[in-house]
C-alpha cells in the first residue's frame, strides 16, 4: 500500500517539477512581457497542482493535507488575478506587444512560385495570377 502511494507521489511530483522548470525556462527565453505571462501561469496552475498533490500524498497528518489544500487554493486564486493586473497595467503604461511583421505579402503559394520564377527569367511575359 505504501509503495503504491509512493509510486503515485513520484508520478505526480516529477511532472510537477518538470512543468515548473518549463515555466521558468519559458520566462527566460520568451521575447515579450505578454508572452512571458503565459509561462508564469504554467507554474502557477499545473506546476503547483501536481507538486502539491504529490506532497499531500506523503503528508504525515490530515492537518498538513488541509494546509496544502489551502495553499493550493490560494495559489489558484491569486495567480491569475496577479497576471491579469500586470497585463492591464502593462497595457496602460504603453508596453507594446511584440507582433511579428505582416508576412502576408511574403507568402508565396506553390502555384505562384513557378509564375514568379518565369517572370524573373522573362520579365516581359505576363502570365498566371497577378
Amino acid at each position: 500500500m505504501s509503495t503504491a502511494v509512493d509510486i503515485l507521489s513520484w508520478v505526480l511530483i516529477v511532472p510537477g517539477g518538470f512543468f515548473i522548470l518549463t515555466g521558468a525556462v519559458g520566462v527566460v527565453r520568451l521575447p515579450d512581457v505578454y508572452t512571458r505571462m503565459h509561462a508564469t501561469s504554467v507554474i502557477d496552475t499545473v506546476g503547483a497542482l501536481l507538486l502539491v498533490s504529490g506532497l499531500a500524498l506523503q503528508a504525515p497528518s490530515l492537518l498538513v493535507v488541509f494546509k496544502l489544500i489551502v495553499i493550493l487554493a490560494l495559489l489558484f486564486f491569486t495567480g491569475p488575478v496577479a497576471t491579469h493586473a500586470i497585463a492591464q497595467a502593462a497595457l496602460e503604461a504603453g508596453v507594446e506587444p511584440q507582433l511579428d511583421e505582416d508576412r502576408r505579402d511574403r507568402i508565396v503559394l506553390a502555384g505562384e512560385r513557378n509564375d514568379i520564377q518565369k517572370k524573373q527569367q522573362n520579365p516581359d511575359a505576363t502570365g498566371g495570377v497577378q
Binding site: S9, V28, L55, K67, L74, L75, A85, I86, A89, A93
Partner: protein, 92 residues
Amino acid sequence: MFYVATASVLLALILLVSRAIAGPTLFDRVLAANSIGTLAVLFLAALGFLTGRPQWLDVGLTYGLLNLIGTFAVLKFFRHGDLAYDAEDEGD
C-alpha cells in the same frame, strides 16, 4: 522524491531571478517577482517535507498572501502615483 521537487523549484528560482535582474521593462520584473513569490511558497512546502518539518507551510501561507499584496501595491503605485488612490473619488 522531495529531493527532486526541491531541486526543480530551486533551478526555477535561479532562472526567474536572472529574469528579474535582466528584464528590460518594469513589468518583466514585477512578473518575475510575483512568480518568485509563488515559487517561494512551493519551495517552503518542498523543503518542509524534505527536512521532515511540515510546519513550515504556515510561513508559506503568510508569504503567499503578502506576495499578492506586494504585487498589487507596486502596480497601483506605478499606475496612479499614489497608494491611497481611490477610483470613486475621480471623475466627479
